[in-house]
Symmetry: C2
Subunit: 313 residues, 2 copies
């Protein structure tokens, strides 16, 4: 199992990223290898600096770096030997089983569409976020930013993508799917949401439980929460800020600890032909380590193959 990591991506790359890889090299399951993609000298020096000795970490050279603020499409075209381009090339060739980057989010999304491409039948791949449930479980919500606006049929597919993830990665059987809305009644919300509600309701492959509201994000009403990338992004960042506020007030609680972005590691892109994860720009060593664990779990579960299978029928 080869998990690749963009050593050059993130506000604190390569230091934090390489440190995260070293952390993960100590506790990832035995069959996992970590592939660091980046400028060879820089990465090697960084590994030495942090005392890496593990034979589980290897380097794939990539001479170019896509910066955080660059225009995604332009950067990918102009930098074919960047760590992000290289990662997706390897993913496409199946030389790696997963690719993670805390770098330029846009380039990660566009890169996926250019290289491994969307799974046949998937209208729009989605980036997913996770929500700690009060009952101790984990919920998934999607999209969290890849698609600011979504048509009803796209939202309907998010239900399926999220359900497959919930089943195969989170281990939830018959996951409950809820549509984020401003009221529980069927006729609530925008025209798009009303149409999405009907599609979801009549989708035989889903356990659709209806609309949910902002107050239901953390309770056990739904395991899979469907929303457009705009609302998902606001929810994600708002939840992260709650954790920061609690921390600043020295309020420590095991439940709210799960709001820490570091605990999750990153956002999987679902509905593409490969396992890819986008990490937080500020990714710390701990966050990076957890991103690698998440990638391992995804690759091991066969989630991508399952999505390919379920969308082909």
């Amino acid at each position: 199992m080869r998990i690749a990591l963009d050593a050059m991506g993130g506000d604190f790359a390569p230091d934090s990223i390489v440190q995260g890889a070293i952390l993960a090299s100590h506790d990832l399951p035995e069959d996992a290898e970590i592939v660091l993609i980046g400028q060879e000298d820089v990465v090697r020096e960084c590994l030495q600096k942090h005392g890496a000795t593990s034979s589980r970490i290897s380097i794939v050279p990539a001479s170019q770096v896509i910066q955080m603020g660059e225009h995604p499409t332009k950067a990918l075209t102009q930098k074919p030997d960047s760590s992000i381009s290289k990662g997706y090339q390897l993913l496409k060739l199946k030389q790696i089983d997963a690719f993670c980057s805390a770098g330029n989010t846009g380039a990660m999304l566009v890169g996926a569409m250019f290289s491994v491409k969307a799974v046949e039948g998937v209208f729009r791949p989605a980036s997913a976020g996770f929500v700690p449930k009060l009952d101790g479980g984990t919920g998934i919500f999607l999209d969290v930013g890849a698609n600011a606006e979504c048509k009803p049929e796209v939202l309907d597919q998010f239900g399926k993508l999220g359900s497959i993830y919930a089943q195969y990665v989170l281990g939830i059987s018959n996951p409950k799917v809820g549509l984020m809305n401003l009221g529980e009644e069927e006729g609530k919300g925008t025209v798009t949401l009303q149409a999405a509600h009907q599609l979801l309701k009549n989708n035989p492959s889903l356990n659709f439980i209806g609309n949910i509201e902002g107050r239901d994000l953390f309770n056990d009403k739904a395991d899979v929460i469907i929303c457009d990338g705009f609302i998902g992004n606001v929810i994600l960042k708002l939840s992260e800020s709650i954790y920061d506020i609690l921390l600043s007030k020295n309020i420590v609680d095991p439940y709210f600890d799960k709001f820490n972005y570091e605990a999750v590691g990153g956002s999987p892109i679902l509905g593409i032909n490969g396992n890819a994860i986008i990490g937080h720009g500020v990714s710390s060593p701990t966050a990076t380590c957890n991103m690698l664990h998440l990638a391992y779990k995804m690759a091991k579960s066969g989630i991508t193959e399952q999505i390919q299978k379920e969308f082909s029928t």
Copy 2:
């Protein structure tokens, strides 16, 4: 100053509502009178039951009741002597200075448009929510549910409505206006938000500071946060649920106490020819009391007259 309250509206009406009126009768400023609108016998009995003696509370009879689940337009047409219809009639005739109800939200919004109507020049009145700021102040965000979808020019006007409220009721001079988006850069978000950004940027009457993100809701970047009613509603309910979760875990903190819906009292409808506030369906006596205080503050500030003035020029 006559503040009217729908005695029949809310999940726990008339009991909680009447108790809230009694609470407020003890601590509202001297020039405030409370007008309870509802079925006279029921309200009188309820006042007696709770030992009301204040001469500051009077009753205006309304024989009908609009239930929480009723269709707003139909209910208002079929029940002209309902407490909500009556409240707006009195508001229109300027026999009261403010009208509050924890009843049917849709009927409160439609009722406003039927009776006192939108201020000339205002495209869409907005319902507003409040956010406790980490620096100790209060921010206002709008819309929180009256308009699920908003055109750019409507979002631009929300900036003005919110700024006037921030100045005249919250006492913030030159309030900073932020547009809720999924990134700080000007070109981020949906086509609607990109257009709204340009309108706001070029609006000379506003102190527009640009896009803000979900993580900025509670910090001091913006005093006025513009969003459509869909996202505002999700944010409002999500924030309320955070308070409930903290409470369930016995985590008490003065900052998070402000997340309690009871502390705020309700959502003002801004941009109509009168002061109207929609309370939470579950309004307790404390929430009802605080809704009356909020109504008093709004009426005293002359916010409606200020909105009329600023939109007429």
